[in-house]
């Protein structure tokens, strides 16, 4: 550790860095401490973002700074006591107390956090969640639970957009998908809604089973299975069992599953309804047309024929749109309402969101993803035309646990198969695995660029592209994974 790094611990910036780390770790003591222990240079921590001084952050900053001052004061008191009493041990121990204050205080800060969580937040949340259970149980609406390792928010938003054409629909907002957010959602319901759409944000074993017990779903949509949150689930099988506990809750009735998720195949039951780019429940997809401006296809069954166009891009979106359309028809929407609903769907921020830069098309898919998302993104890159170059950019995936190497090698293979002209990887712990995966595919002839400063690259993208380029950027690598 060089001198500059040590000096930083004693600057006024250090307490703010500590609180930033807590904030970015979503105040999870476990994640924060792991980050704290692996950080070698704290001056580099606030690289991509900086501390947002919320009320909560201010309180913690106050406690942390106060704790540091108390420790320094204690050290000075020891020196004084040592001098007065002539006890050499007291004042020789004092410098250690003073010098250790950044380390001790940055650990002790989790104590008020945990105490607050245990004594205030948890009891309050429990009460709210208990109350929400009675709200959900007594609500007459159709309650659609959306679960899966990926694609939940898109599915929820598409369902909401389409079903809202003829029904009163309420859905959990953004990616607010944990019990306390479900409880807040329940508290705002009027009771007159005809459809509730609830996103399940699983993160640890038993999560989905608990969500189902509280929200009492009548329908379930399982969007896909891929390695995610394996730091808590440990294995993909454990994650799958938790996600499919939702189907068990519904006794396999009204359960819709993404038939294109290869990893889900071992867990499928014949009573589940499988949706995908081919169709659903007898509805067939034909004439699919993909472009940067959206996705079009026809959907027909018997003599009914729907012409659908959405601004969502990518073949993998067809299944999502099909499910929303078919469910809409089942719930009483007319064909015209369904067509209008699908036409109203559009890309969500950082999820396959296209935009133009210097005449180049950028597909921003930088919301944290998974290997299935990578497959979809690379297939899209392969499928869409580019007048000039095809460029693929990624830092890799986070939270892949023991599957990290395997997943990133697979990722490299998917990238190589898309045959981009340029691949830009970020220099991090998974870069080598992706590179090995790319090199394993002999047909890759593009240029490989390893970027040391991702932030610099993303903010200078305008220098990198020109008219005719097509760029797919997938996933994000926040500061807490650096």
């Amino acid at each position: 550790m060089n001198l500059r790094r040590i000096v930083y611990l004693y600057t006024p910036k250090f307490p703010r860095t500590v609180i930033y780390m807590l904030q970015t770790s979503e105040y999870s003591s476990n994640a924060y401490l792991k980050w704290l222990w692996r950080t070698q240079d704290f001056s580099l921590v606030q690289h991509r973002k900086t501390l947002k001084l919320t009320k909560y952050a201010r309180l913690l900053l106050f406690l942390l700074s106060g704790g540091m001052l108390i420790e320094i004061a204690a050290g000075i008191a020891l020196i004084v006591a040592g001098i007065i009493t002539g006890n050499i041990w007291l004042w020789s121990f004092a410098p250690a107390v003073i010098l250790a204050y950044p380390i001790i205080a940055s650990h002790l800060i989790v104590l008020p956090l945990e105490a607050g969580r245990l004594l205030v937040v948890k009891p309050k949340s429990k009460k709210k969640i208990r109350h929400s259970e009675s709200v959900f149980a007594g609500h007459p609406a159709i309650k659609i639970a959306v679960a899966g390792s990926y694609g939940k928010t898109t599915m929820k938003e598409v369902l909401k957009t389409v079903l809202s054409q003829g029904l009163k629909v309420a859905a959990t907002s953004a990616n607010h998908n944990v019990p306390i957010e479900h409880a807040k959602f329940a508290a705002n319901l009027s009771g007159e809604e005809e459809v509730l759409i609830i996103e399940y944000g699983e993160g640890a074993p038993e999560d989905v089973a608990n969500f189902a017990r509280v929200t009492h779903p009548t329908h379930a949509v399982i969007t896909g299975l891929a390695p995610a949150h394996l730091d808590r689930y440990k294995t993909l099988d454990a994650a799958a069992k938790d996600i499919f506990s939702l189907a068990a809750y519904l006794h396999s009735q009204n359960v819709y599953v993404n038939g294109e998720s290869a990893a889900m195949k071992p867990y499928l039951h014949r009573e589940y309804m499988s949706y995908g780019a081919n169709g659903l429940d007898g509805w067939k997809v034909e004439n699919a047309n993909l472009g940067i401006s959206g996705t079009s296809f026809s959907l027909h069954k018997d003599k009914i024929n729907l012409q659908l166009h959405s601004r969502l891009i990518g073949r993998h979106q067809i299944g999502t749109l099909v499910l929303a359309a078919v469910l809409g028809l089942k719930l009483g929407l007319s064909a015209k309402q369904v067509e209008a609903g699908v036409a109203a769907t559009e890309p969500f921020e950082h999820r396959m969101q296209p935009y133009e830069l210097n005449g180049a098309w950028i597909i921003d898919d930088t919301y944290n993803g998974n290997i299935e998302g990578i497959k979809a993104g690379t297939e899209l890159l392969s499928e869409l035309p580019a007048a000039k170059r095809k460029i693929y950019v990624t830092p890799g995936l986070v939270d892949q646990g023991g599957e990290t190497e395997k997943v990133h090698r697979q990722m490299g293979k998917y990238i190589a198969k898309a045959k981009p002209d340029i691949v830009v990887l970020m220099n991090n712990s998974v870069c080598g695995y992706i590179k090995a995966g790319i090199n394993a595919e002999k047909n890759f002839t593009g240029e490989l660029i390893i970027e040391n400063d991702p932030l610099k690259f993303y903010t200078s993208l305008d220098q990198f592209v020109a008219k005719g380029d097509l760029v797919v950027m997938q996933n994000d690598w926040p500061d807490n994974y650096s």
């Binding site: 210097n358 007048a387 990198f464």
Partner: protein, 389 residues
């Protein structure tokens, strides 16, 4: 293999000092670093002509905040050592030297773009980006470039040039006589300045005197030329050595009956970059139409004229040719040539499908090619001339 070091030279004793800073940092250093292929050294020449080199000079905020003055006060200028290529020598008890493998000039106007800096690189025998000494010097002299271009059969508007001293101290009548042969409105320009600085459009002899006095503040050589009627002004960035490649013809948006001046080029343009598209697909970026909305025939003619000018002047690497078009007669006139376009005209190259990173990489490639070719030329010739002494 270690990366080659590219020295980006900018600033200098020029009225376009500030434009040069933006060109260097935004359009050269940033994409060069992004390419990851080179070590990039910022070499700043201050307004007194002293050279400085420091990583902090890559940060535009050092200049925009005004902190540059403090920085310079605390820093020591570097020395230039030639003999073994070009080396920047940082003086001190333990002086440090840094070898520059390739020079990337980013200066505009006098003491740089005019060939002076290129002379240094020629003497140091290192590859450098852009036009060589002769073409830079010709291009930077509006009177000389027009004379050469005209002699090669390319249209220019009628013009007269003279030295400011001549006009002020005695020979005014003779010069006035020459100017009388031109039809108003006229343009009065200092011949060596770019970025439209001190250029005035005049409608009568009274305004003419004031305009000449203004131009004389900036340059000792002045050109007075006829304005082209029914005007469309276009500009074309070109890149290449023997086989120049054009970007897109661009039409600057001028204020009513005015011309494309410094403000329009660098101040308004920089802040109105949002862009919109016309029905014809031409991009409006707030200060120009890109590509210029000319019919196919006129577009081809203008492009061919610009390429012809580029070759006639002997340009290499990059340059931008400004043309004037009389919409009634459909006649294309050469106006001037800029051997180092502001910000490399990167916005135009991007629209032509060349990214900022590709542009700087290509320019370095062209510099290497020219350097390699020059190496094949004989520079010594054995004679018995000295034996007679």
């Amino acid at each position: 293999m270690s990366k080659r070091t590219v020295g980006v030279f900018f600033g200098s004793r020029s009225t376009e000092h500030d434009v040069s800073i933006v060109t260097a940092i935004s359009s050269i250093i940033k994409p060069l670093e992004l390419s990851g292929k080179y070590e990039v050294e910022a070499v700043y020449i201050d307004k007194r002509g002293r050279f400085y080199s420091d990583p902090q000079l890559k940060d535009i905020s050092l200049f925009s905040s005004g902190r540059i003055d403090d920085f310079l006060a605390k820093s020591k200028p570097v020395l230039m050592r030639i003999g073994n290529g070009l080396e920047l020598v940082k003086p001190g008890l333990k002086s440090k030297s840094l070898k520059i493998d390739i020079a990337f000039p980013a200066t505009h106007g006098t003491h740089g773009e005019d060939g002076e800096l290129m002379g240094l690189f020629e003497m140091a025998n290192i590859p450098y980006v852009g036009c060589d000494v002769a073409s830079s010097a010709i291009a930077m002299d509006k009177a000389l470039s027009k004379t050469i271009v005209r002699a090669n059969g390319i249209n220019t508007s009628k013009f007269v040039w003279f030295y400011a001293d001549e006009y002020i101290s005695g020979n005014k009548t003779a010069i006035d006589g020459q100017i009388a042969g031109l039809s108003y409105p006229l343009f009065v320009k200092p011949v060596h300045l770019g970025s439209s600085i001190a250029i005035t459009k005049v409608a009568n002899p009274k305004e003419l005197i004031q305009a000449i006095e203004l131009a004389a503040h900036y340059d000792n050589k002045i050109i007075v030329e006829e304005a082209v009627n029914n005007l469309t002004e276009v500009t074309l960035p070109i890149m290449g050595n023997e086989e120049p490649r054009p970007a897109l013809l661009e039409e600057p948006l001028t204020k009513d009956d005015k011309f494309f001046d410094f403000d329009a080029k660098y101040l308004r343009g920089g802040k109105k970059g949002k862009g919109a598209k016309t029905a014809a697909g031409t991009q409006l970026n707030g200060y120009s139409k890109l590509p210029a909305p000319l019919d196919e025939k006129l577009y081809s003619e203008a492009q061919a004229t610009a390429l012809s000018v580029y070759r006639t002047i002997g340009c290499s690497g990059i340059a931008r040719v400004d043309l004037l078009i009389d919409n009634k007669t459909r006649k294309v006139y050469f106006n001037e040539i800029n051997p180092l376009p502001g910000s490399l005209y990167a916005h135009n190259w991007r629209a032509a499908g060349v990214s900022g990173v590709e542009l700087v990489n290509k320019l370095i490639e062209l510099a290497d090619q020219r350097f390699a070719k020059a190496k094949d030329l004989q520079t010594v010739f054995a004679t018995s001339y000295l034996k007679q002494y």
